[in-house]
């Protein structure tokens, strides 16, 4: 189940992003349209899946579309999207139950995952730059 939710989140993030960027959909429509289709498919019980399980998948999909709503200036590459979706899936499984019943809970998880991803990314970039500088300084010292 966990794997399916993570895969669903990644697919939802990618779908929303590409619908808004490539096909020129507005961000709200790019989030709502795929979510509606997925929710309708599970609502009509086209797949023989338990109700709780189906609800979790639809919620994960709907929440992950918010990650895909991130601005095109921030999300530049496909792996940004995949990693953000992956992070959302993990956070949804870990802390999703605490937001049950609260409107906007999925949005908070999406926001946390997007911010966490960019903080980690920036930290990695800073560490990489510092290591480069250290290498340059050590070369100068040896010369």
């Amino acid at each position: 189940m966990e794997v399916i939710i993570i895969i669903t989140s990644i697919i939802a993030t990618l779908t929303t992003y590409y619908l808004s960027k490539v096909f020129g959909f507005s961000k709200v429509l790019a989030s709502a349209l795929p979510s509606f289709i997925v929710a309708l498919v599970f609502h009509l019980q086209l797949f023989a899946i338990e109700t709780d399980y189906a609800n979790n998948i639809t919620l994960a999909f709907f929440g992950a579309t918010f990650c895909g709503m991130t601005g095109h200036r921030l999300m530049k590459t496909w792996y940004d999207l995949i990693l953000t979706g992956f992070l959302f899936g993990i956070l949804f499984l870990l802390i999703g139950k605490y937001f049950k019943g609260f409107g906007g809970g999925l949005g908070v998880i999406a926001c946390i995952s997007v911010i966490t991803y960019f903080v980690i990314l920036k930290t990695i970039v800073v560490i990489h730059q510092l290591r480069k500088r250290e290498k340059v300084f050590s070369r100068n010292d040896s010369v």
């Binding site: 895909g68 019943g101 609260f102 809970g105």
Partner: protein
Amino acid sequence: MRHLTKYLNVIFKKKDQHSYSLQEWIINISICEITALSTFYIHTMYHQNIVLVASFIGIILGLISTKERFKNIQFVGYCGVFVGMSSTLIFPTLLSVCCAGIIAGVIYNLSTSLLFGYGGRLGTIAFLSVWGVYVLNIILR
């Protein structure tokens, strides 16, 4: 209102991107209110899937606001949809949904540049308003 928005933007060290006029304030809050109430009403009264209702209203908002003039309506409306996604355990009456919708609209108007471009911004605004009204409900009980 504009001064308050600018003040908050200075606090959060953000560039002043846009500050709303009084007319825009009223429109934004009322749209947030309408979408919150409609989402809550449909999913509680007709016992429909929350995601189905929310995304359906989201599609309507997305289709309405294709023009540049109405671009802002879809975002504030979507924020209201998230408020309306709360369960009856959190909001026992429609009055609390009304209050949460108004608070969400106010926060949206004040935070023009806060977390701008980050996914989940509207959901976070909705959650803050829902949580605020929920805490107030507990205190006043």
